[in-house]
Amino acid sequence: MHRFILGFLMIFFFSNCQKENNDLVANANETIYVESDNAAMRVNIRGNIASKVVLLVVHGGPAGAGYFYRTDASVAKLEKKYAAAYWDQRVAGASQGGSNSATVVMEQYGKDLKKVIQVLKHKYGQDLKVFLMGQSWGGMVCSQFMTEGNNQDMVVGWIHANAVHNWKQNDVFSRNKLLTFGQQQIALGKNVEKWTEITDYCTANAGDITPEISAQLNAFSFDALNMIDGFTPFNEDEVIRENLISEKIPYTNAFLNLVNPATGRLISSLNSVEFSSKLFKVTKPVLALSGGYDFVVPEEGAIDFIDKVGSAKKSRKLFPNSGHNLEEQDAYIDAFVQFIDDNI
């Protein structure tokens, strides 16, 4: 009897111990954690790591999750040819930790990204080619990393997809786009009540942008996406619902990270953070992508980004029928793959 109980306990205790696989296979599915300053950050490596090329996904938010980026298009196109590493940043997604609120600051995210790349290269070989894809807030994280010391030597190229590199400047672009587009919609008699509320707010807050105004503009920008004829915004909840079991998503963890007060404090501190003045240091190939209906991070940000980077190889593309969350998935993924093909 006691053997049975012991066996039962052993099965339970070790059922979670997965054998790590560092093999260069065509269909990798590895979950590792990178521990950094009292945070354990989940990294899920999927797809063709045998290619020795990986696209490291730097999610939005802050406090988004890597889960949202593993779409059907990503699986079918990107992961077939190259590998993708879906990284959950500190206090985000499935990441865990102890008392680490003091580390939820801009500089730390650059350090964390560096460690994630170091671990990937340790795991799959120093000759692993790493490309960065930062979306939305992920653009700030990539900018922090790429403009620091010799960090950029660790990567081959950088995709800046609907991404921010200058927080306050982006808020101004966002306000301008809401105002211009809103006035057009009012003139066309579409969603007049809501657009009037938005344009009135933008007009009344035409001066300096405080963290409160920034938060309200962000909320209006997502509202706007739901008021465009024939456009369906990316549904993050649907991704969670569809993959809750298969991807073993710790839903409450991701949700509580999203509402963690440390995330709120981080957002409030970003008003003074900009990388426009440092992007000249970047010499690696870059690609900036934008969505035509993106009010959260309008195209003007990508124009400034391309203007400021020091890279000789730089390009920009607009997806006219996309909002903030890469809605034209096939086209975005094609652009990612093409960028990697061109710079490998």
């Binding site: 339970f12 205790f13 059922s15 979670n16 997965q18 790590e20 590895e30 979950t31 590792i32 954690y33 990178v34 521990e35 950094s36 945070a39 354990a40 989940r42 899920n44 500190r90 206090v91 499935a94 990441s95 865990q96 930790g97 102890g98 008392s99 680490n100 609120s101 939820v104 560096k114 460690k115 170091q118 671990v119 340790h122 795991k123 079991i245 073993k248 710790p250 409450t252 963890n253 509580l256 990270n257 963690n260 007060p261 440390a262």
Partner: protein, 211 residues
């Protein structure tokens, strides 16, 4: 003779009546339960020890209805595994209020506090200032755990004379300081309690209330 007979009947009746109202004290119980979330399995084992029993007697038309309000201290060891996320071992002390009906059904409410240790659900790496990467064994975190549970169960000793109870208890466990905040996880327990009379006998304080 007639007086003696009346007195005898009275005594017998009195004994029966007293027997009806006698407190059947709960004993120390050993608990074992499947405890999991959604598809992620786990278990919980423990011991419950009553320290107080309030017998509430309500006069009804059909007779006296007796409800026992039992108070316990419990100590539990729990574990669950959520692959690629973490596995979790914890030691939990609970204060348990149980309302035991005379027909066997019971309801309980159980707040608890304890120690929690997680083990990350994947190989864990650290990088030092020189950029040296190393693997960390048994990586995870220590937390304070709080829990709140409420459930329903059945005491088979009331009908089958077996010192066994079965219960179902949804609960919410909270770990802190988790990313300087909290982690909350809803779980559910399906378990049995075995309370043989010979095991670690308890002598809870008894109080009788009549309504």
């Amino acid at each position: 003779m007639q007086k003696f007979f009346v007195l005898f009947i009275g005594l017998i009746y009195g004994q029966v009546a007293f027997a009806q109202n006698a407190v059947v004290l709960p004993g120390t119980g050993l608990k074992a339960a499947y405890m999991g979330t959604l598809i992620y399995p786990g278990f919980k084992i423990g011991i419950e020890r009553p320290y107080k029993v309030i017998q509430v007697e309500k006069e009804k038309r059909r007779g006296t209805k007796i409800v026992l309000k039992e108070r316990y201290w419990t100590l539990n060891l729990g574990y669950y595994s959520h692959p690629t996320f973490h596995s979790h071992v914890y030691l939990l002390a609970e204060w348990q209020r149980r309302r035991q009906k005379s027909k066997g059904w019971f309801f309980e409410f159980t707040p608890g506090v304890g120690y929690s240790r997680t083990f990350l659900g994947g190989a864990t790496y650290t990088v030092n200032d020189n950029g040296d990467v190393s693997k960390k064994a048994l990586a995870g975190y220590n937390y304070v755990q709080f829990s709140l549970a409420g459930g329903i169960g059945y005491d088979f000793s009331k009908r089958l004379n077996a010192p066994i109870k079965a219960y179902f208890k949804p609960s919410l466990m909270i770990l802190t300081p988790y990313n300087s905040f909290i982690y909350a996880r809803p779980t559910a327990e399906l378990g049995v309690i075995y309370a043989p009379s010979f095991f670690y006998q308890s002598s809870p304080k008894v109080k009788i209330k009549k309504k």
